[in-house]
């Protein structure tokens, strides 16, 4: 971390309603191709923030509020994938939904990861005995994998690194999803984990005196090349969150709950760079941008803090432009009179069939009006605006009625002579039915 890093902006996470109290950020992810920070809340809502000012961009519901919090967000070139406990939603960055999967085997999902197929396939897992493989292009579950282990965090490195409930990390083969190696990282549970290239780093808890969960005062490191754990890196303040630096391959950033940040070289742990984030209570989340030039921190006061260098802060190296609404050219106001022709506004240039094109539908024009029987009319109460009462006619509301036939059955005793055209129509109808 350079010397000029500081808190660049701080925003209050938008509350779930106009008069509602603010709530916690449940997950954060930096976009990999645009200057966006994606966040999730307790009510299934996803909100994106733009650039160093963290201005609000799109915001949408990934699942119903009753289905709980947003667990995790992944991004690929097409859009964002949002994991809830019971469903997976994919949307364009602009918020337009692409697909939504709610599967019977989705009971308590916690985490997901890309697989061997780049960013076109994910595996989702959680506190349940089945993992599901989802094709992101089709939006379909393509495989179910049963698992003995229940996972809370997943990160894709050379293997899919999956943290269990009990403090160990399983290295899964990204093709077969079989457990290649189990590493017992912490004695009680894992609080945070990251994986990059050759390393897995974890922060976790152990049980002290058999009853208190305490953050371990060290960072655990696993070397994937050697398939063995490395000596833990001491962090006396209690290591709560950790991320590998995306550019400096052996560097990790460790953060304590009180906001102490250390930049540590795993190969040379004695030299570290220390910073203090200004938080009133404690930190609840930490994330680093893909360019390594920005960090986001969240606290229980529901603030998001953005750290970086004032002059160089950016999320991705070659950002694609964010798609905002097309700026509207000012139009001269139209005087609207009875005679203003609607075509004075004009239609934009087009090549395809217009949306207003009406399909070929046969319409019955000029049928006699519906007749109401006297019993129904008498059952209504007269008021100055008309009659009202219950719908006792035995029809649905707004049900279309074939008034031609009704009139005919009413006059069943007297057969009125028919025009030739009427006869032809009836025989045509009979033919169509039989």
């Amino acid at each position: 971390m350079d010397g000029d890093w500081d808190e660049v902006s701080r925003i209050l996470f938008p509350p779930p309603g106009v008069h509602a109290l603010p709530t916690l950020v449940t997950t954060m992810t930096f976009d990999t191709s645009q200057e966006l920070l994606w966040t999730g809340n307790d009510y299934g809502r996803v909100t994106a923030f733009v650039g160093s000012e963290l201005q609000r961009y799109t915001s949408f519901k990934a699942h119903l509020a009753s289905d709980g919090l947003v667990r995790q967000i992944l991004v690929n070139d097409k859009g964002v994938v949002i994991l809830g406990s019971r469903d997976v939603h994919m949307a364009l960055r602009r918020g337009v939904p692409l697909w939504h999967i709610r599967h019977d085997e989705m009971k308590d999902l916690r985490c997901m990861s890309f697989t061997s197929k780049g960013t076109t396939e994910i595996i989702v897992a959680g506190f349940q005995d089945v993992m599901l493989v989802i094709d992101l292009n089709k939006g379909e579950v393509v495989k179910q994998v049963s698992t003995e282990h229940q996972y809370s965090i997943m990160k894709r490195g050379r293997y899919i690194c999956a943290a269990t409930k009990t403090g160990s990390v399983n290295l899964l083969d990204p093709v077969s999803f079989a457990v290649v190696k189990t590493w017992n990282a912490h004695s009680a549970l894992i609080n945070d984990m990251d994986a990059q290239h050759d390393f897995i780093v974890t922060c976790g808890y152990s049980l002290r005196q058999g009853q208190n969960y305490m953050l371990d005062p060290f960072l655990n490191v696993f070397d994937i090349k050697q398939m063995s754990s490395m000596p833990p890196i001491p962090f006396p303040a209690g290591a709560a969150y950790v991320r590998m630096h995306p550019r400096m391959l052996t560097t990790s950033i460790v953060v304590s709950q009180t906001g102490q940040m250390h930049v540590v070289d795993l190969m040379n742990p004695n030299t570290s760079n220390v910073r203090q984030a200004n938080v009133l209570t404690y930190l609840s989340m930490f994330e680093i941008a893909p360019a390594g030039e920005a960090m986001a921190l969240a606290d229980p006061e529901c603030y998001i803090h953005l750290w970086g260098s004032h002059s160089k802060l950016h999320f991705v190296d070659l950002p694609t432009p964010i798609e905002f609404a097309t700026p509207e050219e000012p139009m001269p106001p139209i005087e609207c009179t009875q005679d203003t022709p609607l075509n004075s506004i004009g239609l934009p240039y087009y090549r395809e069939l217009l949306a207003s094109a009406w399909p070929d539908l046969v319409s019955d024009v000029g049928a006699p009006p519906v007749r109401f029987d006297a019993k129904f009319i008498n059952g209504l109460k007269p008021t100055d605006f008309g009659l009202y009462g219950r719908n006792t006619r035995g029809f649905r509301r707004n049900q279309a009625e074939d008034t031609r036939n009704v009139n005919m059955s009413a006059n069943a005793g007297l057969k009125a002579p028919k025009f030739l055209s009427e006869k032809a129509r009836e025989s045509a109808k009979h033919d169509a039915k039989s």
Partner: protein, 121 residues
């Protein structure tokens, strides 16, 4: 003179047909509880588009009845242009950036579904 009259009537018919389509699709009771019309569904934007076109307000929340805005939006929907608009929900919590092209496709799908369910279709 005759051409002007003709174009005028063609335009009226086009606008009317588009409005008829929007009318058949929006706020149908059968769609209550249908996931694709719910807040995370792909048709939620058609509802928000209706508000965007017809329920415009000024800074004080008073209605703005700008026929130019209404017809312009409808024409762009009709042609399905690439222009993008920002649609915001009534509680101001949800905002989508969506193109007329995408909205046109949604309207086509929704109307097509009604057509399939109708007797004549």
């Amino acid at each position: 003179e005759l051409n002007t009259e003709l174009f005028r009537e063609l335009e009226n018919g086009r606008v009317a047909r588009l409005l008829l389509k929007l009318g058949t699709v929006n706020e149908r009771q059968e769609f209550d509880g249908d996931r694709s019309w719910s807040e995370n569904g792909e048709r939620y934007m058609l509802k928000l588009f209706r508000d965007y076109v017809f329920h415009q307000v000024d800074g004080n929340g008073n209605p703005v009845l700008d026929i130019g805005h209404m017809i312009r939006c409808l024409s762009r929907l009709d042609a399905g242009t690439d222009e993008r608009i920002c649609l915001t929900s009534r509680d101001e919590q949800t905002s989508f950036v969506v193109s007329y092209k995408e909205l046109k496709k949604q309207l086509g799908n929704a109307f097509g579904e009604l057509l399939k369910g109708s007797k004549q279709g």
